[in-house]
């Protein structure tokens, strides 16, 4: 996994609440058996005017000019600004895969759905929670200043404007922070405790043998 330390990037707004993972990556694209290549179909039914199917040449598809990500000023955005309960619904990890594959490194919203939030960390994508009022202010800033960028410093747990005029603190669980800062393989980490797992399992086999 790619480590996350400091990211300075262009911010794109997605001004709607309860964005579900079906919207982030529609089901017809879940048939792939790979982890990559989902970025072209991120927000497919909002981004394009036709009906997307796997294998389409997306460069030839008609795009929806009203959708934020299609506007030239947001091209190359690395930070997505969203409203509350982002990523609700299906547990599909294809949603963070699509966001990361598109080029996003971090998300900023007042809240996320639990499974999606968790899946982001597994893919080097940092889901930052700021208050409703902080997020509202950032939406105003993004609209007002073309080229609006933010710097995210995971070590210091801050989101700041590039001119230093505003800085917001955010919370992150220490273990998740540690894994993300170092791009750690969690399975490898867990397997260092294989002895404890085996001992737990052996005890369980004696106490509740019907589970095995």
């Amino acid at each position: 996994m790619q480590p996350f330390r400091i990211v300075t990037g262009l911010v794109a707004p997605l001004d709607r609440a309860n964005v579900d993972t079906d919207a982030i990556i529609p089901k017809q694209f879940l048939k792939s058996v790979n982890r990559s290549g989902f970025g072209a179909n991120l927000f497919d039914s909002w981004r394009y005017l036709d009906k997307g199917e796997p294998g389409n040449d997306h460069s030839k598809r008609p795009v929806n000019p009203d959708f934020a990500l299609n506007q030239p000023r947001y091209r190359g955005a690395q930070i997505l600004l969203a409203r509350r309960n982002f990523g609700c619904g299906s547990s599909r990890e294809h949603a963070p895969w699509a966001l990361a594959d598109y080029g996003f490194r971090a998300l900023i919203a007042p809240s996320y759905a639990d499974i999606f939030f968790n899946n982001c960390y597994k893919n080097g994508l940092l889901p930052i929670v700021l208050s409703e009022s902080e997020v509202a202010r950032l939406f105003d800033d993004v609209a007002a200043f073309p080229g609006f960028r933010l710097t995210i410093d995971l070590e210091r747990q801050t989101v700041g404007t590039t001119d230093g005029s505003a800085t917001f603190k955010f919370e992150v669980e220490p273990f998740r922070k540690h894994c993300l800062l170092n791009g750690l393989d969690e399975i490898g980490l867990t397997l260092t405790h294989a002895g404890e797992i085996a001992a737990f399992e052996a005890k369980r086999k004696i106490e509740q043998p019907w589970l095995f």
Partner: protein, 469 residues
């Protein structure tokens, strides 16, 4: 000793080790696997040169991509076939406690086959790369959906790195009125607390109206915990739980059964156990529910009307209502009973069990679907449910009424196979999500109970099933 919630008990009994920041290594008893969220996990395992820790924990099936008719032709969609073939190959290579492949007699929706085979047992931790894993909590177990990276983590280590959620009790008092079902409880609760109301919580459902539900009804309620934002929903073990499990293929038997039951009897919240949040609902006030928008919280009763965005003060919410009405093709203040439908879908991990099919058949019996309903389809949750329904003659009730009787699978709940809505089509659906495009690009979904879906099929528009029957 402090009084503990059911969730505390399930959590505590599975913690292998705890880190200083509260992250725990949680042992997983049952790993349910399907074809959509597992191929990348098995691939990752292979690339890292690792092996599954305990294949005896795995119960697998192909459900999301499988067709619901013409099984003799196999899976015609080549991309769907690749995923199902990948699962077949992984099961051949690694093995499992049980694998119910495409066309197997016991194949079906993963959340239907686990319980009906006794592969879901009280006191277990149950995970699956699928958000509706919460369904299994109906059996007094801790069950929740995970992503594909976590699927790989469980395969490799039999554990998950996770943190204990907060606890919420949703207490449903009183008795459900005639014509109302578990689905109406689930939608009414979501309407009350919202789709993010349960975020960060594990929900325990309790109270007389929950105790009165059958195991099928309890699964419906726990299934939709995720639509309230909670990863896990659960219900205490009682006589009904135990009676349901007795004699099932993977349930313990003889002396082991008695030992298991003695333990299962302890799986309820202690008197006086503290919850972080308690939500009380009076079942007697619940009426048949119908969603009108593009989120399960956008719900009203059959007596209600489509909301008027001009009456909403919160700008984000108003914007959401306007966007939903535009997508749904609905005018503000329209009575729900005036909404005409094009298709009816009875199925999904929420409502495809035998009790659901009986409820729908009871409404349909001796009647015929309306002419404006282009397709009314019934998709049983599993091969076993289908066989049971056929023994009871339910298939003939449906086909006589002009419904299609299909093979089991996830089908039009998420439309990964051929079953889908065309743009603009409106559907009365017993599934769980009414998101934009969920049942097909441009499709319009209204979530209802099986009886309400059946009544809508007969009338051609939504009707109050309490008067229809």
């Amino acid at each position: 000793m402090t009084a503990r919630t059911l969730y505390d008990k399930l959590w505590d009994s599975h913690v292998v080790r705890r880190e200083a920041d509260g992250t725990a290594l949680l042992y997983i008893d049952r790993h349910l696997v399907h074809e959509v969220t597992s191929p990348q996990a098995f691939e990752g395992l292979k690339l890292a040169g690792r092996k599954p820790w305990r294949v005896g924990s795995i119960v697998a099936t192909a459900d999301h991509n499988t067709p619901t008719q013409h099984w003799d032709r196999g899976i015609e969609d080549p991309t769907s076939r690749v995923q199902v073939d990948a699962l077949d190959a992984n099961m051949r290579q690694y093995g499992a406690k049980a694998y119910f492949p495409f066309r197997d007699r016991r194949q079906g929706i993963v959340h239907v086959i686990g319980p009906e085979n006794g592969a879901t047992l009280p006191g277990m931790t149950v995970v699956c790369g699928d958000s509706h894993t919460s369904t299994h909590g109906a059996f007094g177990c801790l069950a929740f959906g995970i992503g594909t990276t976590e699927v790989e983590h469980v395969l490799a280590t039999q554990c998950l790195l996770t943190r204990q959620s907060k606890s919420m009790l949703v207490r449903v008092d009183g008795a459900l009125p005639f014509g109302c079902t578990a689905k109406d409880i689930a939608l009414a609760v979501i309407g009350k607390i919202g789709t993010a109301g349960g975020s960060g919580y594990a929900i325990e459902f309790g109270g007389p109206a929950i105790e009165a539900l059958s195991m099928e009804g309890r699964m419906t309620v726990c299934n939709m915990s995720i639509e309230a934002g909670a990863r896990a929903g659960m219900i205490a073990v009682d006589d009904k739980t135990i009676a349901y499990l007795r004699g099932l293929p993977f349930a313990p038997s003889a002396e082991m059964w008695d030992r298991a039951v003695a333990y299962w009897r302890t799986l309820s919240s202690d008197p006086g156990a503290k919850f972080d949040r308690v939500v009380a609902v009076d079942a007697a006030t619940i009426a048949p529910q119908v969603t009108w928008g593009t989120s399960p919280e956008m719900v009203t009763t059959i007596e209600g009307r489509v909301p008027d965005p001009d009456k909403e003060r919160d700008p984000t919410r108003r914007d959401g209502i306007e966007r939903a009405l535009l997508y749904m093709g609905l005018a503000p203040n329209t009575p729900m009973t005036d909404i005409r439908i094009d298709k009816v879908f009875i199925g999904s991990c929420t409502n495809s069990r035998i009790e659901d099919l009986r409820a729908a058949a009871a409404v349909v019996s001796g009647r015929h679907k309306a002419d404006n309903v282009k397709l009314a389809m019934v998709v049983p949750g599993s091969g076993l449910v289908k066989a049971q329904a056929e023994r009871e003659g339910l298939d003939r009730v449906f086909t006589a009424a002009g419904f299609e009787w299909r093979e089991p699978g996830c089908s039009m709940c998420l439309a990964m196979n051929e079953d889908r809505l065309e743009p603009g089509e409106r559907c009365a659906s017993t599934s769980n999500r009414n998101f934009e495009g969920r049942q097909g690009t441009g499709g319009r979904t209204h979530l209802v109970s099986p009886a309400m879906a059946a009544a809508a099929a007969i009338a051609g528009h939504f009707v109050d099933v309490r008067r229809h029957s």
